[in-house]
């Protein structure tokens, strides 16, 4: 049997509904975090409300990881019942070790085709669980903890804490007994392989003080945290996968933060409640997914026209229509950029990793408030529902704040809500401000907010609404440093937006190890475009690889429309739900370096 000794390890833990494999995965990740590892966990689940199939997909490493590896090195299954439903998302390496229950039958076709029978380990997982009165997931957890050489006492503390917080103390003793059984099963394997069988060599650090603090956080919680750190006060939302857990997490916290969360009757109501609260002066947001964003487009246009700040978080899922609600794709870029009718300039941003969800959300709210317009933040299911071990995330430096007009009572001139100003931003009077009475309007209007259908008013207000965003190109570098993240050198560059950045960053590092020097640019601010800034980042680049997770190349077409690009542009795109992996990007990089033709559209494999 092959042992797996790697710097980073990818594990898939699967079972049919109720086997608790997702919990086992989370507890393993938590134990690894307390031990000093970095890592991540995503879930492969079906659309069923309860039960059905589920798999926890984990990656653990001694260094920060943002995305899954190409292959899984270990697959542990309690049963194969529903495995075929997500087999396509679990790519197995040739040396994969399969641990399965002895009575689960033979591995199904997609697994049998890859795995070497000598690497299949049949163990009495269910029988051992039964002996202890616990469940198979706890036996699996003990086994995996031992194979990974995670400290036994840390694992026990994590498990105890898990049941303690759920108020299920009666499960603690049987669970600990089951961990013991799993660890005992691991013993002979470990002995036969000199103590290291499935492991990342060495300890990540001597102790946690040495490691520095770790956080365990999902992208959805990170977005919510960024909103709160920046001063967010009002949330309205309508339940939709995969954004609901963000709303649920915020619900009990909003009031304790001097804020409010409302469950709206639909997404139309949610965005309009946000606009109403923001008109009242409170920094406000809603969180939704593609189908909800489609409905909110009407409200986005109103926010643009009436110049009301609002943050709309779209945790993208596979579309169009209802699509695949539980799985990830970067398919809403065009909708976010171009959705509203008329000329409707607004902000579009995308966080590029779980850590960045905190900061880019705070920046998006800051910009929306400062520029008095809506901002769409494009997260996705992968980022949103990924649970990641990160370094402690420093608080976001951006706060919500508007240019206000507090009192007009002394002024002889009537208050002009939409005054034409040099930077396009007009001081906003909130209800309550004496003497500044006015009616904000979704109709085109003059400076005083009175409806107008005149040529001059429309031209002046269009220009003003455009200008306040266009001015970002002139903002000082230190205020705009967050617009993109770039590293590396060379004449080849990989460019991404949103969650594809993780695979690209890792690919560029792997390429450097091969002596292939490349750059990576991750764009966080997608609208307004930053032509000069991107030109500087791509200065000297001759070949550009555009990586994105969708079928049509929405990012590619956006770049071509709004930027001057290097002569050779390669599109590397593939739809979800399988995440883009570092090796896919690395292959594209190698090919881009070798190829002769000026343009090639490449579909990822």
């Amino acid at each position: 049997m092959t042992s797996i000794l790697r710097e980073n390890i990818s594990l898939a833990i699967a079972g049919s509904g109720g086997s608790g494999m997702l919990s086992a995965g989370e507890l393993l990740l938590r134990t690894a975090a307390r031990t000093g590892f970095y890592g991540l966990l995503t879930r492969a689940i079906g659309p069923q409300i309860r039960g059905g199939e589920s798999a926890a997909l984990l990656r653990l490493a001694h260094y920060p990881v943002e995305t899954h590896d190409d292959h899984f090195h270990l697959l542990l299954v309690a049963d194969w019942k529903n495995f075929h439903r997500f087999a396509g998302e679990i790519r197995l390496g040739e040396d994969v070790l399969v641990i399965m229950d002895e009575n689960a039958g033979d591995p199904p076709e997609p697994v049998a085709a890859v795995v070497d029978e000598k690497n299949v380990l049949r163990l009495p997982l269910h029988a051992l669980a039964k002996e202890t009165g616990s469940r198979v997931n706890m036996v699996a957890l003990g086994l995996l903890g031992a194979l990974l050489a995670l400290p036994r006492e840390t694992l026990r503390a994590v498990v105890e804490n898990f049941f303690h917080r759920k108020g299920r103390e009666q499960f603690i003793a049987p669970s600990l007994a089951a961990l013991e059984k799993g660890e005992a099963v691991a013993e002979p394997l470990l002995r036969a392989h000199g103590g290291a069988f499935v492991a990342t060599p060495g300890k990540p650090c001597r102790d946690m003080a040495d490691c520095g603090a770790r956080w365990l956080i999902s992208g959805n919680r990170a977005v919510a945290t960024g909103f709160l750190q920046a001063g967010g006060r009002f949330v309205a939302g309508y339940p939709i996968t995969p954004a609901t857990d963000m709303l649920e997490w915020l619900a009990p916290r909003m009031e304790r933060l001097g804020g409010l969360l409302v469950q709206a009757e639909d997404e139309l109501a949610a965005i309009n409640m946000v606009l109403g609260a923001s008109f009242g002066g409170l920094p406000a947001m809603t969180a939704t997914s593609g189908p909800g964003l489609s409905l909110m487009v009407e409200g986005l246009g109103l926010g643009v026209m009436a110049e009301i700040p609002a943050l709309v978080v779209d945790v993208q899922r596979i579309g169009p229509s209802t699509g695949i609600p539980t799985k990830s794709e970067q398919g809403d870029l065009q909708l976010a950029l171009c959705g509203a009718h008329g000329d409707a300039p607004h902000l579009v941003l995308a966080p590029d990793c779980v850590v960045d969800c905190v900061h880019t959300t705070a920046w998006a709210l800051h910009l929306a408030e400062r520029l008095q317009c809506p901002a769409v933040l494009l997260s996705d299911q992968k980022l949103g529902q990924m649970l990641a071990i990160t370094d402690a995330i420093p608080p976001a430096p951006w706060k919500a704040g508007r240019k206000l007009k507090d009192n007009c009572a002394e002024s002889e001139e009537p208050y002009k809500r939409y005054a034409i100003t040099e930077d396009g931003v007009s001081p906003m009077a909130l209800p309550g401000a004496p003497g500044c009475l006015h009616t904000v309007d979704g109709l085109e209007h003059d400076e005083r907010a009175l409806p107008s259908s005149q040529v001059e008013d429309h031209a002046a207000q269009l220009e003003k609404r455009h200008r306040k965003l266009a001015r970002l190109e002139e903002w000082p570098e230190e205020e705009m440093a967050h617009w993109a993240e770039a590293f590396g050198t060379g004449e080849v560059a990989v460019i991404t937006w949103g969650s594809s950045a993780g695979a690209a960053r890792e690919a560029v590092r792997m390429a450097a190890d091969e002596g292939l020097h490349a750059r990576h640019v991750s764009m966080r601010l997608l609208w307004p475009p930053q032509k000069k800034r991107l030109a500087r980042l791509l200065d000297g680049v001759e070949r550009l690889i555009v990586v994105e997770q969708n079928h049509s190349g929405q990012f590619l077409h956006y770049l071509k429309a709004h930027y001057t690009l290097p002569e050779t542009v390669v599109s590397c795109r593939c739809p979800g739900p399988r995440p883009i992996t570092p090796r896919q990007v690395l292959r594209a990089l190698r090919e881009a370096c070798a190829m002769a033709e000026p343009f090639s559209e490449r579909v990822c494999t």
């Binding site: 009002f234 409170l282 402690a392 979704g442 409806p451």
Partner: protein
């Protein structure tokens, strides 16, 4: 309504902006009644917000000297709800027409009734889409013939009061724009009601429904009286003539929870800092 001299007058609540409404439009009467109600309550103008959607009636915020929000077709209620929940210090009114509130905004109407935000809604009902020039609305009679439906709709109209009651609105009334004094009294009662007040106003459209000019002779003022039970209220709405006015239902029910208001900015900042620190700790593995 006798008042001391220093008290505000209805004219103080008029913005001076010239309405787009046709001569004889019922909405002038609604504007008059609203400003009378504001003056009677002596509301500080900067603490009043009027929110509307789209339609002839949706133009009303700009004609009132207050803060206003002229938003999207059908969406006045969610905007008003967000505003009131975020700013409990304001007196918030929502205004719209029968198409705005009972058709494109019908879902919001039902859920606003349930949620019970402390808002007063004024539905100006003229049984026609006036702004788009005369199409049948959800309250049009089944045989009202128009270019878009030459045979009439052939379907029963929405009964706004019944829908409000079925959706558990806590205050339900009907007024008539041709009797602005009675209407002003109903609006005062609606504003004073701690919850969602639905006030449907018969507001004739002399341009596309000239026969509604007769309403002033047909309306039976004060025929609707507060009922003791919901059942009774529904029965009264069902049996009373369609052109009768009055308050038919009032019930004490907790309004939708609003933004907590800490005494001062310092207290709020301390509260937020504490909670944010707790959130950070919750991310420790």
């Amino acid at each position: 309504m006798n008042r001391p001299e220093h008290a505000p007058r209805p004219a103080d609540y008029k913005s001076g902006v010239h309405p787009v409404w046709c001569p004889g439009c019922g909405d002038y009467g609604v504007l008059a009644a609203m400003t009378r109600a504001f003056a009677h309550l002596e509301l500080p103008r900067e603490r009043v917000a009027v929110v509307s959607g789209i339609g002839c009636s949706g133009r009303i915020p700009a004609y009132v000297a207050a803060y206003g929000f002229h938003g999207l077709h059908g969406r006045a209620l969610p905007v008003a709800t967000g505003l009131k929940l975020a700013r409990p210090d304001l007196t918030v009114l929502a205004a719209g027409g029968d198409g705005d509130i009972y058709s494109i905004g019908a879902a919001h109407f039902v859920h606003a009734c349930r949620r019970n935000p402390d808002i007063t809604l004024i539905v100006m009902d003229n049984r026609v889409y006036g702004m788009t020039k005369g199409q049948p609305s959800p309250t049009s009679e089944p045989d009202f013939a128009a270019a878009l439906q030459p045979e009439g709709t052939g379907v029963p109209p929405v009964d706004g009061l019944l829908l409000a009651l079925a959706s558990r609105a806590s205050f339900v009334a009907r007024g008539f724009s041709g009797q602005p004094n009675e209407l002003a009294e109903i609006i005062v009662a609606g504003i004073e009601h701690p919850g969602f007040a639905v006030i449907e106003v018969l507001s004739p459209c002399p341009t596309f429904r000239p026969e509604q000019r007769e309403w002033k002779r047909q309306v039976q003022a004060g025929l609707l009286q507060p009922a003791n039970t919901l059942e009774e209220a529904m029965a009264r709405v069902l049996t009373a003539p369609a052109l009768s006015t009055g308050i038919v239902w009032r019930e004490k029910r907790a309004p939708a929870p609003m933004m907590p208001r800490p005494d001062n900015a310092k207290e709020l900042a301390a509260m937020r800092a504490r909670e944010l620190a707790g959130i950070e700790r919750s991310f420790h593995p």
